[in-house]
């Protein structure tokens, strides 16, 4: 085996496999998601969508070749840097946006933990009881603001800076509601580890039903966090060209685009873990008897559904006005999440 050649311990090789599979999964899922977005939006708007690009000029596969063609195109585009841009920051910005987006997935368990020969294997990158739990993806999610802001600042463009400022204000204000709604959930679970949260949901039912207000707030705030319509103020193409990534071209832009979709996947994974029972299977009690692969499949189905909801909402709702966004964030989402917290706190001390 290759692992014995590299003289890796089983733990290390297991870790390696997990890292490769997880990151590979995210990177592989994001491009098809762009396809889903383009074709899905087309169908929603009674259009047809991109369907012309073909592999070797022959195989059209429903326009999936457009994904490949786009990627290839980004690689061969000229890499322009604006004259007065801050060059080093301009180079770092896409990575700064991309990496935090990717990292958030690390604590999400994609399936049931299982035991082989007395060793327990966990299907999340970071094993449970690591002391970070679900605080980690939230903290990393907070870092996403830097990617946007640095990209906006470094490109020395007024549209960009407007987009960046809007995005940062928006993300910071919605983080409050996000944190508080998750807090109510932690209170109900009595722990903040994703495994505990999921096991609690296996026992007592999904948090979607137990904390609908919390779910609502969390869901809306995730839209703000991922900078998607109806909250895509960082871009707002009708107002500020393309917002924070106006000046980015070639693969830098490709990375920015990929980041958005990875954000969607991670946000969906979070929603699934926190509110939709993670890898558990509804109406089917007893979590210890499910085959591991079935739990993984269950997780994937929920994840893909949430990703689709993100696309679906984007093509349903128009963009908010900026003051409406702030109003919604501070005067509705924040009090709602507080109310949710208080209600849940009262519920468990009853």
């Amino acid at each position: 085996m290759i692992f014995s050649i590299l003289s890796l311990t089983p733990e290390l090789s297991w870790m390696l496999i997990k890292v490769l599979v997880c990151i590979g999964f995210l990177m592989l899922l994001a491009p098809p998601l762009t396809w889903v977005e383009r074709r899905g939006s087309a169908m929603i708007q009674d259009r047809i969508g991109p369907n012309r690009a073909a592999l070797f000029g022959k195989i059209k596969i429903l326009g999936l070749a457009h994904v490949l063609a786009d990627g290839l195109k980004f690689f061969f585009k000229e890499d322009l840097i604006p004259k007065d841009a801050n060059r080093s920051l301009f180079w770092i910005a896409p990575a700064l946006a991309f990496i935090p987006a990717l990292l958030g997935f690390a604590v999400i368990p994609v399936g049931r933990s299982f035991q082989v020969e007395g060793v327990t294997y966990h299907l999340s990158l970071i094993d449970p009881n690591n002391g970070m739990g679900l605080l980690y993806p939230l903290a990393i999610g907070g870092l996403a603001v830097y990617g946007v802001l640095v990209a906006a600042w470094s490109s020395n463009n007024k549209w960009s800076i407007l987009g960046g400022m809007r995005a940062s204000a928006q993300m910071v204000s919605y983080e409050l509601g996000l944190g508080l709604s998750v807090l109510a959930l932690f209170v109900a679970v009595g722990g903040y580890d994703p495994h505990e949260v999921i096991l609690d949901q296996v026992e007592h039912g999904w948090f979607l039903w137990r904390q609908p207000i919390g779910f609502l707030v969390f869901f809306v705030c995730q839209f703000a966090e991922t900078n998607r319509l109806p909250f895509d103020f960082a871009e707002g193409e009708s107002e500020i060209v393309a917002g924070f990534h106006t000046e980015f071209g070639s693969m830098k832009f490709g990375l920015m685009g990929l980041t958005e979709y990875i954000h969607i996947i991670v946000a969906s994974a979070l929603i699934v873990t926190l509110y939709l029972g993670g890898w558990s299977i509804p109406f089917n009690g007893d979590g210890d008897r499910w085959p591991v692969l079935v739990t993984v499949a269950s997780f994937l189905v929920k994840l893909l559904f949430m990703c689709w909801v993100f696309v679906w909402v984007r093509w349903t709702l128009p963009r908010f006005r900026y003051d409406q966004l702030m109003y919604l964030g501070w005067r509705i989402m924040f009090p709602l999440s507080l109310l949710n917290l208080v209600l849940n706190a009262w519920w468990i001390t009853r």
């Binding site: 009674d46 047809i48 679906w312």
Partner: protein, 189 residues
């Protein structure tokens, strides 16, 4: 002057937003399902090179110079169309055409050169209106493209033969030289 925008008071139900959002999502979902289940041929979008739109009656596309059944040109080179053309894109040179001399004792005119510069033409249909002989028609062809300007300067033969589809006349292709004009039948009275 500043304009005061009246704020619309929404009902509490509307201000909850979520019912309306769900309703909107229901609508988009309906569109999605309906569109995805519609076969390509029935969708609104016409997949152009594979599918073509049937042009409506009265569409003004590429011209055709009409022929008699025997294939001789209907046009008598009266220059009416050239005069009427607002884009000045018709060039006609007349010639005498004297087969009839033998029986009728008079001569007729016909165009020796009949050129329309399709790049200048605005497809207004004035030529069609002006023609006393119904010799020039605007038909439904709209796919006019070429790699150079000269090839869109249609000559007499092009104009007589490019459009023959819905008439049931065969499209003549791949003969580069002018086809020999068919022998004109003598008119027997």
């Amino acid at each position: 002057m500043a304009t005061l925008v009246k704020k619309i008071q929404l009902s509490w139900w509307d201000r909850l937003y979520f019912p309306s959002v769900l309703k909107g999502m229901w609508i988009t979902w309906g569109h999605f399902i309906r569109q995805i289940l519609t076969p390509t041929s029935k969708r609104f979008t016409i997949q152009y090179p594979e599918m073509k739109k049937e042009m409506p009656e009265g569409y003004r596309g590429l011209h055709e110079l009409k022929q008699f059944e025997d294939g001789s040109i209907k046009c008598v080179a009266c220059f009416m169309c050239q005069e009427a053309c607002p884009a000045r894109c018709i060039t006609i040179e007349a010639e005498e055409f004297s087969d009839l001399n033998f029986t009728q004792g008079f001569e007729e005119k016909r165009p020796k050169v009949f050129k329309i510069d399709m790049l200048r033409c605005i497809y207004c249909g004035m030529c069609e209106e002006a023609c006393p002989k119904d010799a020039i028609w605007l038909r439904k062809d709209y796919e006019l493209a070429a790699y150079d300007r000269l090839s869109l300067n249609y000559g007499k033969w092009d104009l007589m033969n490019t459009y023959a589809d819905t008439d049931g006349k065969p499209i003549q292709t791949e003969s580069s030289e002018l086809p020999p004009s068919p022998p004109r039948n003598f008119v027997t009275m």
